[in-house]
């Protein structure tokens, strides 16, 4: 009875997952803090000044990890939503709902940092380059998911409708990215590209990797915290909740 599968299945119940999440959350939060300190230290002090872009390029240590994470979280969200839809497990659906706001935050952060990078470099607050434009569309997809779930009162219908939307979205993301990239190359003349990043020194890659891990740990910590709140809200009639809240 102690095989991994049955242990995993036990945690699929909100009642058992709630305390587990409570124990794990601080660990990930601390990991996020430590990794960020390390990553930012490398990014702002250790990595060398870029020959072409000077000091301003350092915002790349926030921009690139934020972009990566916004994509990863969308995929994770769609995965949990699909699991919830296929196996009718409530916790999976709650996890998808919990991930969305953090993913949207990273998408927004990516756009913001991209903008801050672009202004000193190319004198414009916004450029219609392929990656920024795709990131903007990804933000719309996140907002759509959150808006749909917020608009539906019945939690079960909200979970399942959101799941369908997330799956449709994740299938469309490559198509959208491909079409935006093509659109960008067609109109190349006018635009500048933020993808022409400085050639990567080893330290720069390490810095970005650490920041990416930091964001990942932060995302997990936030998702765990949020899912605990959702569990309390949804299961508020259950006895274990009444006991836990005393």
């Amino acid at each position: 009875m102690n095989n991994p599968a049955s242990t995993l299945w036990k945690y699929a119940s909100p009642a058992t997952f709630y305390p587990l999440a409570g124990r794990l959350m601080p660990l990930f939060a601390w990991a996020a803090v430590l990794l960020s300190v390390a990553g930012l230290w490398i990014g702002f002090f250790v990595a060398p000044t870029d020959a072409q872009q000077g000091e301003g390029y350092r915002i790349i240590f926030l921009h690139v990890p934020a972009s990566w994470m916004s994509m990863v979280i969308y995929c994770a969200m769609a995965f949990w939503a699909a699991v919830g839809l296929a196996f009718n497990t409530r916790l999976s659906a709650m996890m998808a709902t919990a991930l969305a706001p953090t993913g949207a935050l990273f998408a927004f952060l990516s756009l913001l940092t991209g903008s801050l990078w672009g202004k000193p470099m190319w004198g414009a607050w916004w450029v219609w380059d392929a990656r920024l434009t795709s990131e903007l569309i990804l933000l719309f997809l996140y907002l759509g998911f959150m808006a749909l779930q917020a608009a539906i009162d019945d939690p079960r219908r909200a979970d399942r409708a959101g799941a369908v939307l997330a799956i449709v979205g994740v299938v469309n993301v490559p198509i959208i990215y491909f079409s935006v990239k093509w659109w960008n190359t067609l109109h190349q003349g006018a635009s500048v590209s933020l993808t022409r990043s400085p050639s990567m020194a080893q330290t720069m890659l390490w810095g970005m990797l650490l920041m990416a891990l930091a964001f990942w740990a932060y995302a997990i910590a936030m998702a765990l915290a949020r899912v605990r709140n959702i569990i309390l809200e949804r299961e508020s009639n259950a006895d274990w909740v009444k006991d836990a809240l005393e």
Binding site: D153, D154, P155, R156, S236
Partner: protein
Amino acid sequence: MLSATHLACSRGERLLFKDLSLSLAPGAWLQVSGTNGAGKTTLLRTLVGLCAPDHGEVCWNGVPITNAAETYQHALLYLGHHAAVKDELTPLENLRLGNELDGLPLADADALAALQRLGLHGRGNLPTRWLSAGQKRRVLLARLLVRPATLWVLDEPFAALDTAAVALVGSLIAAHLAAGGMAILTSHQPVPLPGGAEVVL
């Protein structure tokens, strides 16, 4: 032969009923009763397959309805709360279309006869928009006569009908049961049918 075992359903986060089992044999009818909001409509919708239950399953002739959907739907006629008629179409067109969507033929003569039987004389060619709520209900009930089915699931079939119409619908159901059909219904009014089991929620 309809059977449901250990059904449990919830609406939102509220559990409506659990561990509910029932079965229905040819010639029998069942009334689902309970207070408003007890879950009567949800039970009916779960039995016809519109909602999936939290637990348990519904079987038609021993096969779960999720596996034998087409067979079950062929034998089933569900009349819910809504009028389920299109205002823009005449009652005649509504009946014909209803059958067409179910893949069944319907001769105009049969449709007109059904409408007449339900008390809608000479209104066959007026858009349903011009009919009263009670008359629209009769158009819906006319489907009982034109859409062949073994199991009738009727949610408040006597609502908005006068005494004569209530007796008429009662006799239609009785005739259906006598011919080997089955019926499940909810009603706030007394049901003019003999015998019958009851499920109270």
